[in-house]
Symmetry: C2
């Protein structure tokens, strides 16, 4: 079985999105600055990080709120992911987009992701609430923080509702102008 990997872009003050998130502004005010390394400010090293994640992951898990604001309606009605995407949701939206499956709760999503991914990794994309649920349940094997060199000042905090000490071993750091990509392995007790 592959690893369960959380990969998120975060500001130095811990935000994964700005304020006033909407389908028109999925990352919120100034939030796209966190994704400079994926878009405007990308270098070859940044591109390789995305490719690695895409190539090594057999399934991606996404929270319903993130799906609603960032994915549903965008991408011209098709999935932007090269692997099946599983949305954590208690309901299934009326309009279905190809490449997406809807599962109740993190356990259900994870069970389906394991079945689909096989030997490949499972990528937990977020948002913050989904990431926190996976961390609190002790389900993450690795975490990649793509740390943007900004203080966003306000927005959605990645961490804030994790409630216990989690220890990591840093396994890799890749520096690019728009991000410090730090990979961590969770230390199991």
């Amino acid at each position: 079985m592959g690893k369960i990997i959380l990969s998120l872009s975060m500001s130095l003050d811990g935000f994964v999105a700005g304020t006033n998130i909407s389908p028109q502004l999925p990352m919120g005010e100034n939030g796209m600055r966190l994704h400079d390394w994926i878009f405007g400010g990308k270098t070859n090293a940044d591109v390789r990080i995305i490719e690695e994640l895409m190539n090594d992951s057999g399934a991606v898990i996404i929270g319903r709120h993130t799906y609603d604001v960032a994915i549903d309606g965008g991408w011209s009605g098709s999935s932007p992911f090269p692997m099946p995407a599983i949305i954590i949701s208690t309901t299934v939206p009326g309009k279905l987009v190809g490449g997406f499956r809807f599962m109740r709760g993190i356990e259900g999503a994870l069970a389906l992701a394991k079945e689909i991914a096989g030997e490949k990794n499972i990528w937990v994309m977020g948002g913050a609430n989904t990431a926190q649920q996976f961390i609190n349940a002790g389900l993450i094997d690795e975490m990649q923080i793509n740390l943007a060199p900004i203080l966003l000042g306000k927005g959605i905090k990645l961490f804030g509702n994790t409630d216990h000490l989690t220890e990591f071993e840093r396994t890799r750091t890749i520096e690019t102008p728009a991000a410090t990509h730090i990979k961590y392995k969770v230390k199991r007790k």
Copy 2:
């Protein structure tokens, strides 16, 4: 004139200390894990980072709360700093420890620090409240984050009351087992 440098140890979830801070437990519960790179887990590279800060700084600025819980009463009645330390405080404590000066507000503290430091840098040590005041006032030139590979889960957040976008250029990253030391230069508009 030297630079104004903020240097702080922070967990991945943005804490600079744990909960239940007291003179007996100045870093709070599990908080000493943030300073692993200074104490138990230090390597030569970590030591060089401390030496650089000590050698290059002509004055250090510290908030009154940090002074009360972490410095006053500890260190056998003498200052642990090789340079003059300026405490931001509206009152002067009854018992005076050598090496400390007490100034009202960040402006007063900074004016005295500049006078004392001359061509050397001014190190803003923290805590979180003092750091935030300096950031919000746009007074920081450089910031060094010593990022510990843990999620602390709860405690004192470094950032949370900074209220505007601040952009940095990353100027250096030094990796050690107990921390990722990232140095940033503030981008002026």
